[in-house]
């Protein structure tokens, strides 16, 4: 099975590979022990995440088809568009994105703190509780228990169950931080620990506030927008930045360009990230000062974004050719570029003159794909390519499968974002002309939305390939090799 990828002798040592610091045999053994302690829960979290991702791909595709063919599967209440839409959101955010985020964070914290995970079993229990709560919630959404609050659609009991699972995992991850060995301070730790603290409070505050019996009216929508922003910034973005700050120096073999910039980036992010999201109600029934404040805060996000982007860029600079053969770096760098890109588009879209055309259109959906997929998910894909070989003790089976995965998801999400943006611009322009009737507005977007079906098919293909590859790795069918599986040979010849 495992045809070995060309391992050239030291005399043909690659010129493009960096010279990684020498690791002593004892240190190597220590790393293996650390990795082994977290291997069970980490691979389970990855597996759960990938399972949800594949499920999401089907629902996402069905939703794209339904927009064009409204009678497709419309005879069943549990498959109607309005129920599948929140189900897709929950599957993506709480299923895929949170599971892999937890897995990557757990492994990274074990490595960074140099403390083995004492009780992998309790993290496994936490994982099962999280996913059990989510599964129950999704069944309930199919049956019509939705709250019609974006990202808070799951019923309260389901979210409370999930929070229990999250708390168990979180306690162990933050415990690792408190037990860390001296001198292991690292910017990634700061992002990950902060992300867990922020996520716990965001989940708790967002859900409880919505459910208080005396809370009525627009404040529910305000809390909802605050929650979406919190989940996106304080959980997904913080996690992905923490991971990127680990992966980029690790793969390029260079230290982070500037620690000072890294800390400036972290603290400016911490203090600004919570002040956004309400601009979605621009011109709507919420206080105008609140919208203005959010627009200003979103614009100020340029400070952490520029600080972090410059730091990433200066660390990678000179190692860009590694993207040709390292799958980890290729996914991570695309993700890091999408972080900068999506942060800039977020600022543009929050401006009143722009939002008048793009608000409440498909452009907002394109933007959330930009953030949660092109940025967050790409960083996580990169991290999984780095981590999984280390916990199963085998290298990735096939460079062809990695390439199929990369090109499937890169073209798939690129096309999806592109067509949703263009369709949304048409939609916004048409709605702002009162003489164009409702059905015509909807109709004018449909030819473009055909592109979203093709994008959805590409994503599905990429995800199935990735799921297959994960399965092969878990079954320990990977290659036993001294060298990672590259997608092109760094030694100047074609990879097998």
């Amino acid at each position: 099975m495992s045809t070995s990828i060309a391992i050239d002798g030291p005399e043909t040592a690659p010129k493009t590979l960096p010279s990684y610091p020498k690791v002593s045999a004892a240190d190597m053994r220590a790393r293996v022990e650390l990795d082994q302690s977290a291997s069970g829960p980490t691979s389970l979290l990855f597996g759960m995440g990938i399972l949800w991702l594949v499920a999401w791909s089907f629902i996402n595709l069905a939703l794209s088809v339904k927009l064009l063919h409204p009678d497709f599967l419309s005879g069943f209440s549990f498959l109607t568009f309005g129920r599948l839409k929140p189900i897709a959101t929950a599957m993506f955010t709480y299923g895929w994105a949170t599971n892999v985020g937890l897995g990557v964070a757990l492994w990274l914290m074990v490595r960074l703190c140099r403390v083995p995970l004492v009780s992998p079993f309790s993290v496994i229990i936490g994982t099962l509780i999280w996913n059990g709560g989510l599964f129950g919630g999704i069944v309930a959404l199919h049956l019509g228990a939705g709250r019609s609050l974006e990202y808070l659609e799951l019923p309260l009991w389901s979210q409370l169950t999930m929070m229990g699972g999250f708390a168990i995992i979180g306690v162990w991850v933050i415990g690792l931080y408190f037990k860390r060995l001296e001198g292991t301070g690292f910017i990634s730790q700061a992002y990950i620990v902060a992300a867990f603290v922020w996520m716990a409070w965001t989940l708790l505050a967002g859900n409880i506030f919505t459910s208080l019996p005396w809370v009525h009216g627009v404040i529910i929508a305000i809390n909802n927008a605050w929650f979406i922003n919190g989940l996106t910034h304080y959980w997904f973005t913080a996690l992905a930045l923490g991971v990127a700050f680990y992966i980029i120096p690790k793969v390029t073999g260079k230290p982070i360009h500037s620690y000072y910039l890294a800390y400036l980036g972290f603290w400016s992010f911490a203090f600004l990230a919570g002040w956004g999201g309400l601009q979605r109600y621009n011109g709507g029934p919420i206080p105008v000062w609140l919208v203005t404040l959010n627009i200003v805060a979103t614009a100020l996000m340029i400070i952490p974004v520029a600080t972090i982007a410059v730091n990433h860029h200066l660390t990678i600079v000179g190692s860009h050719e590694m993207m040709h053969f390292s799958p980890t770096l290729r996914f991570t760098v695309v993700g890091a570029m999408a972080f900068t890109g999506s942060s800039v588009t977020a600022i543009i879209l929050s401006l009143r003159s722009v939002a008048a055309q793009t608000g409440l259109t498909y452009v907002t959906q394109a933007q959330s794909h930009f953030v949660l997929y092109a940025f967050y998910s790409f960083i996580m894909f990169g991290a999984i390519y780095f981590i999984l070989p280390r916990i199963v003790g085998r290298e990735w089976v096939s460079s062809t499968l990695i390439k199929f995965h990369f090109w499937g998801v890169a073209y798939g999400i690129g096309l999806t974002i592109l067509v949703l943006t263009i369709a949304g611009l048409f939609q916004g322009k048409d709605w702002s002309h009162a003489q164009i009737d409702n059905a015509t507005v909807a109709q004018s977007t449909l030819p473009l939305l055909r592109g979203a079906i093709i994008g959805g098919l590409m994503l599905l293909f990429g995800h199935l390939v990735f799921a297959l590859h994960y399965l092969l790795m878990i079954l320990r069918l990977g290659q036993i090799s001294e060298e990672p599986t590259y997608i092109a040979s760094p030694h100047g010849e074609e990879a097998h």
């Binding site: 927009l67 064009l68 409204p70 009678d71 069943f76 209440s77 109607t80 568009f81 309005g82 129920r83 839409k85 929140p86 019509g144 228990a145 939705g146 709250r147 019609s148 609050l149 974006e150 301070g185 902060a194 603290v197 922020w198 409070w201 506030f209 005396w214 809370v215 009525h216 009216g217 627009v218 404040i219 529910i220 929508a221 305000i222 909802n224 605050w226 603290w267 203090f271 919570g274 002040w275 109600y281 621009n282 011109g283 709507g284 029934p285 206080p287 609140l290 009143r352 008048a356 608000g359 409440l360 959906q365 916004g428 709605w431 702002s432 009162a434 059905a439 909807a442 109709q443 449909l446």
Partner: protein
């Protein structure tokens, strides 16, 4: 990093207080508007049927495609499209425990769909029973399959909210008059389920076209918030 935890928690709660805490404190004071002459109170209290319909609206995710948020004229043609006579304000929603503002308009805004002239032409009196009946019929047919009314619509059919029943004796007064090819088989009729009746009751109750002091120069003073 000894100030790490106070720092990240401070950053988080500062954001929460400004984004949710202060708006809550200021919006919670909003009460209804009471007309001193007619003693009519706005926002209107909706019927029990409409309350149930609101749950059907939530369960089926209507908010995925329909907003209930008439934006100010500087943000689009919402008012020009007659989705409402004025911009939506916080007071419009004070009785709602799920607020369907929405984030996408794949279809039109429904803030005041109950006040909208759907089945009728001209300035019909929408408070009359006959007019409401005609509007209700329009909604039933449209929910059953929107393409009966708008051939180009891409709204899904909600035929699962309707029951096909064998006609026993006389045809039910509630039975829908549908064109081909949507008719039921001979001897059968299509009637709205209780969910469909509740949903239509809710849609007809949607009417935010009422003057409020914050959207008018001179207006009656707001009544104090009801004690809870």
């Amino acid at each position: 990093m000894k100030n790490f935890f106070p720092g990240i928690l401070g950053a988080f709660f500062l954001g929460w207080i400004v984004q949710v805490g202060i708006p809550y404190a200021s919006l919670a004071r909003l009460g209804p508007v009471v007309d001193p002459d007619t003693n009519e109170s706005y926002p209107y209290n909706i019927s029990g049927l409409a309350q149930q319909g609101r749950a059907v609206y939530a369960a089926n995710g209507c908010v995925s495609c329909h907003t209930q948020d008439v934006r100010a004229s500087y943000m689009g043609a919402d008012i020009e499209r007659k989705w409402g006579t004025r911009q939506s304000v916080a007071r419009d929603y004070i009785y709602e425990d799920a607020v369907f503002l929405g984030s996408l308009r794949a279809g039109p805004d429904l803030s005041s769909v109950g006040a909208r002239d759907l089945a009728l032409t001209g300035d019909a009196d929408l408070t009359s029973v006959a007019a409401r009946g005609k509007n209700a019929t329009w909604h039933y047919v449209h929910l059953f399959n929107p393409r009966i009314i708008h051939p180009k619509s891409n709204m899904p059919s909600f035929s699962y909210l309707f029951d096909t029943k064998k006609i026993k004796g006389e045809r039910s007064v509630k039975a829908l008059d549908l064109p081909e090819p949507y008719t039921a088989a001979a001897g059968y009729e299509i009637v709205p389920s209780p969910e469909a009746e509740a949903l239509v009751g809710y849609l007809l109750s949607l009417n935010k076209n009422h003057d409020v002091p914050e959207m008018k120069g001179a207006a009656p003073a707001a009544a104090p918030a009801p004690a809870k």
